[in-house]
């Protein structure tokens, strides 16, 4: 009896406590916007700037009287970039009564959550999920993003490589969803165009103790350029060791590497590295204002996808305003038919959900700073 009662009591306590935690709160006439992404753990630095962007925009809008007579409220949920957690997070946001979601951040988590949002007729605007099928497959008419997809990025990269005259290219990736996806697109383009030869196509192992084996392999392949898909930690490890071995290859990478942290970590070895990234908008007055707002409020420079998130929230608020409603059909129509001024420029969304007006450019590290070419 003791053992059974113990089980029963523990189980009951857990069930009860769990069910009761969602007691209804007082209904206040606010418009709720969900913000989903990794807010804890090792990927938190990719998700937290989105929260900050949303908070700053909401504060500004509410200070000016809200939208359609109602104040805006954020519902922030963590998905630690894991698909199974993201599915639960999506269910939670739906239950919390949000009208739309800004997120998710990681493509995998986004894919897992979109099914839930589609069923519940909620739209999501992601500042960072670049996986092309999210818009290209047509499976998710409720998905929008304020960042260009990876295949557009790959196109820019490969065109640049041709322009520079590279004939033998080694394509590498970090075996991750984003990096491998980017590398696959580059590979497909290179094979189709037949203007340059792919001498190596491999994935490096993040976290390995030693990269000399793969570096030797690159050297022995006779490549004159390396295209790397992945993030800045791996890229900086590769470029540091390549330069130390006096290998004079051009190094081209993606927007996971077009980050000041890359330059700081790789130091002098970052000189001359090419990376694609969203077109430079820091001269845009709205961008300056957004950056300053972050500086004033938090005392530091914003992190990844801040401007993309800022733009996403502005676009959403604008859509609510223009459509004068929070219904799914009205909002999606408003997003697709209106241009809104954001830190990324004047943008709108096409029928599939990709942003119009957001493109990629190639940057190079010159004298310790990324310069747009």
């Amino acid at each position: 009896m003791k053992r059974f009662t113990k089980l029963f009591v523990i189980a009951l306590a857990l069930f009860a406590a769990f069910s009761l935690t969602s007691c209804k709160e007082k209904e206040a006439p606010t418009i709720k916007i969900g913000v989903a992404g990794p807010h804890s753990g090792d990927l938190a630095s990719y998700g937290i700037p989105t929260i900050k962007a949303a908070e700053l925009v909401i504060a500004k809008v509410n200070a000016a009287g809200g939208v359609n007579g109602s104040m805006l409220e954020l519902v922030i949920e963590d998905d630690v970039c894991k698909p199974e957690v993201a599915a639960n997070t999506a269910a939670k946001l739906v239950g919390d009564g949000v009208v739309a979601v800004i997120g998710h951040i990681c493509s995998g988590a986004t894919k897992a959550a979109m099914g839930t949002y589609l069923d519940s007729e909620l739209l999501a605007i992601s500042p960072s999920a670049t996986n092309p099928p999210l818009t290209q497959s047509g499976d998710y008419p409720n998905f929008f993003r304020t960042i260009a997809p990876d295949d557009a990025q790959a196109l820019v990269e490969v065109e640049f490589a041709y322009a520079q005259g590279y004939k033998k290219i080694a394509v590498l990736h970090d075996k991750g969803d984003y990096g491998k996806g980017f590398a696959e697109f580059c590979k497909a383009l290179l094979e189709a165009d037949n203007k340059a030869e792919i001498v190596l196509y491999e994935g490096i192992t993040p976290g390995a103790v030693d990269y000399t084996a793969i570096i030797n392999k690159i050297a022995s392949s006779g490549a004159d350029a390396v295209i790397f898909g992945g993030y800045h930690p791996e890229a900086s490890k590769l470029i540091t060791q390549m330069k130390k071995k006096d290998m004079n290859l051009a190094f081209l990478s993606d927007d996971g590497v077009k980050d000041d942290t890359f330059i700081k970590v790789a130091g002098e070895y970052a000189e001359g590295v090419y990376a694609t990234g969203p077109m430079d908008t820091t001269s845009n007055p709205l961008a300056k204002e957004a950056l300053k707002a972050h500086q004033d409020e938090y005392g530091e420079d914003p992190g990844a996808f801040y401007l993309n998130a800022y733009a996403a929230v502005l676009a959403l608020v604008n859509a609510i305003d223009v459509a004068d409603s929070t219904e799914y059909a009205d909002l999606t129509k408003a997003l697709r038919s209106n241009y809104v001024d954001t830190p990324l420029g004047s943008i709108s969304f096409d029928a599939k959900g990709d942003a119009i007006g957001v493109g990629f450019a190639v940057y190079q590290v010159q004298n310790g700073v990324y310069v747009e070419l």
């Binding site: 103790v209 030693d210 793969i214 700081k264």
Partner: protein, 302 residues
């Protein structure tokens, strides 16, 4: 051309093997004496690297000479790693000495998670660049593109550590006490050996070698973050088991076998399956030699 690259892969393999060896030694020594898989050993390696980074950062701010900074940083790394190792043992393993093996393993896993997140929360989740502490040796300049100073230092250090350890175990009194404790803990206690001290010394030595490995390899790769211990830990553990866990020469042999397999696999087959090669070679060897390459066949009393 081909021969040149074969030699390079061999060298890469030896370097890798040396790093795995420095950490595998810690695993194998602890296992030999306490019969415990110290899952948190990788985290000790990581803490050593972090300590070196922090100390050198602070000293650098005050403009201390780089060579002196290096000396102090590596000493600090060794001291702190040893301290963490001993503390770890006292808190998480000592109360479980008489408990079944599975309990001690879970406890080790728990400490591994705790230490990872401890460093994550107290420091940062970013990848921090590791300062260039090790000065370039001029006499290596001509073959710089084949063998860097770092690689050379790693190989030499591993050789030295292995020699010192063998001398310690075979010829000193402490070594004898360690061997006795490994053979039969209760008997060792009965003949008057202070097993608490012996166990602590084992952890100190194991952690110290891991810390040295941490500093050297972090200099080579150039970056550290809170998670590096986990992956290295698993590989080093595989290496120790491959060579026969509990045997010091086995740990070193296993590490080199592992390193060379990975290196040649990457070079001649594909880097995609780099980790898989390590695991496959482990399974293959254990099928033919269930106690590892140099493992002793233990007879069980019924």
């Amino acid at each position: 051309m081909k021969i040149d690259f074969f030699f390079q892969y061999l060298l890469s393999g030896l370097t890798r093997g040396s790093i795995y060896a420095l950490i595998a030694l810690g695993y194998t020594m602890v296992y030999g004496i306490v019969k415990l898989i110290n899952f948190a050993h990788g985290e000790i390696y990581m803490i050593g690297a972090f300590t070196a980074l922090i100390v050198s950062g602070v000293l650098g701010m005050y403009g201390v000479d780089p060579v002196v900074t290096f000396m102090i940083a590596i000493t600090a790394a060794v001291i702190y790693s040893a301290a963490y190792g001993v503390t770890l043992e006292k808190i998480a393993y000592k109360p479980l000495r008489k408990a079944p093996r599975l309990s001690a393993l879970i406890s080790a896993i728990g400490m591994s998670m705790f230490l990872q997140n401890y460093v994550l929360l107290a420091q940062t989740s970013d990848f921090l660049p590791f300062p260039e502490l090790i000065p370039e040796f001029e006499f290596l300049d001509p073959i710089k593109s084949i063998l860097s100073t770092n690689q050379f230092l790693i190989l030499v250090t591993t050789a030295v550590v292995m020699v010192l350890l063998t001398i310690l175990i075979k010829f000193t009194r402490t070594g004898k006490a360690m061997r006795a404790t490994a053979q039969d803990r209760d008997m060792a206690q009965l003949v008057g050996i202070n097993i608490n001290k012996v166990i602590s010394i084992t952890f100190v030595i194991g952690s110290a070698t891991a810390a040295i490995g941490g500093v050297l390899i972090s200099s080579q790769i150039g970056q550290i973050n809170f998670y590096i211990g986990f992956i290295v830990g698993i590989k080093a553990f595989v290496a120790a088991v491959l060579g026969g866990i509990g045997s010091i020469p086995g740990a070193v042999l296993g590490s080199f076998v592992l390193g060379i397999t990975e290196s040649f696999g990457t070079g001649y087959i594909s880097s995609d399956y780099e980790d898989a090669f390590a695991f496959i070679i482990l399974i293959v060897i254990l099928i033919f030699k269930p106690s590892g390459l140099l493992g002793r066949k233990t007879t069980e009393k019924v």
